[in-house]
């Protein structure tokens, strides 16, 4: 298990500031799915009863449909579990030094990536749709230098507040460690680098 007090490659003095998951509505969707899928066999059962069909008392179809219902219930249970696992393992952690992005894609694929806060060039928050606006959830995009991919915090609560918090942490980190994107730019294009010799004084 991952502990917030002992993150992988944690530096001394690095403190976790934000621990984010997708908005609870995603999880509610999984439970709604389960509820809807559970109602289906009962609805069919009710239709059989109302239609006075004797299929359940048939020597073959009674047991066969019972087993089919059992399989259906087991499959719905594991699909619900997989959705909860997917929700539960999508995590974004923001510390005083870096952003850690952990994403679970299905059950057999997982991405863990991180970027240092002093590499960040742009932070964008995006809220869209009626529910997103009404319940204040949305996405936050974190952009680093050109060739790096951008991080996306998907469907998180209060994206504007999160953006402001990260922007403040980025400014603090750049103040302490320098702007990594500027340093990278200087390494790539040394001709544009600031001359190392001090300027000659024109004062006499």
């Amino acid at each position: 298990m991952i502990s917030l007090k002992a993150l992988p490659n944690q530096e001394s003095g690095e403190v976790t500031v934000l621990f984010l998951r997708r908005y609870w509505l995603d999880l509610a969707g999984a439970f709604f799915f389960t509820l809807a899928m559970t109602i289906v066999p009962f609805a069919i059962w009710g239709a059989i009863k109302l239609g006075h069909l004797t299929i359940m008392s048939q020597p073959f179809w009674g047991p066969a449909l019972t087993l089919l219902l059992g399989c259906y219930m087991l499959v719905v249970a594991v699909i619900t579990m997989a959705q909860i696992t997917d929700y539960f393992l999508d995590i974004w952690i923001v510390t005083t030094e870096r952003v850690i992005n952990i994403e679970q894609h299905g059950l057999f694929s997982r991405t863990v990536s991180e970027l240092r806060l002093n590499q960040v060039q742009d932070i964008t928050s995006e809220t869209s749709g009626f529910l997103g606006t009404f319940l204040t959830y949305g996405d936050v995009f974190i952009q680093t230098a050109g060739e790096h991919e951008r991080f996306q915090f998907k469907d998180i609560d209060n994206p504007d507040d999160v953006k402001l918090t990260i922007a403040k942490l980025v400014a603090d980190c750049k103040h302490r460690r320098g702007d990594a994107s500027l340093l990278e730019h200087e390494e790539r294009e040394p001709s544009h680098a600031i001359p190392t010799e001090p300027p000659t004084s024109h004062l006499t």
Binding site: M1, I2, S3, L4, F19, T54, I55, S57, Q58, P59, F60, W61, G62, P63, A64, T66, L67, L69, G70, C71, M73, L74, V75, A77, V78, T80, M81, A82, I84, T85, F88, L89, I91, I102, Q104, L107, R110
Partner: protein, 92 residues
């Protein structure tokens, strides 16, 4: 001409395969949560929910399956709906 008979428990073979597959999948979920989840009370609750929920579903399915006489044999003709005898195989 004699009708082809087969015991009902043959139906339990595909059911067992589905049961095994869902159980393995459930354990994969638990493994993922236990290995990659955050160390927190919420993780413990989710793990308990998985075990509890799956055991509850297994229990319901077990009760449903145990009410059937699996030694009963059926003929191919009885497979056709509404043509066979209406003798119930449920041990109720």
């Amino acid at each position: 001409m004699t009708a082809f008979h087969f015991p009902l428990w043959y139906l339990l073979i595909p059911f067992s395969i589905v049961l095994l597959a869902t159980t393995v999948y459930m354990f994969f979920n638990i493994y993922h949560i236990a290995k990659f989840g955050m160390q927190s009370f919420g993780t413990t609750v989710v793990l308990l929910l998985y075990f509890g929920g799956y055991l509850a579903v297994l229990g319901v399915v077990g009760v449903m399956v145990s009410n059937i006489d699996w030694h009963h044999t059926v003929t191919v003709i009885e497979i056709l709906p509404f043509t066979g005898s209406s003798t119930s195989t449920f041990g109720l």
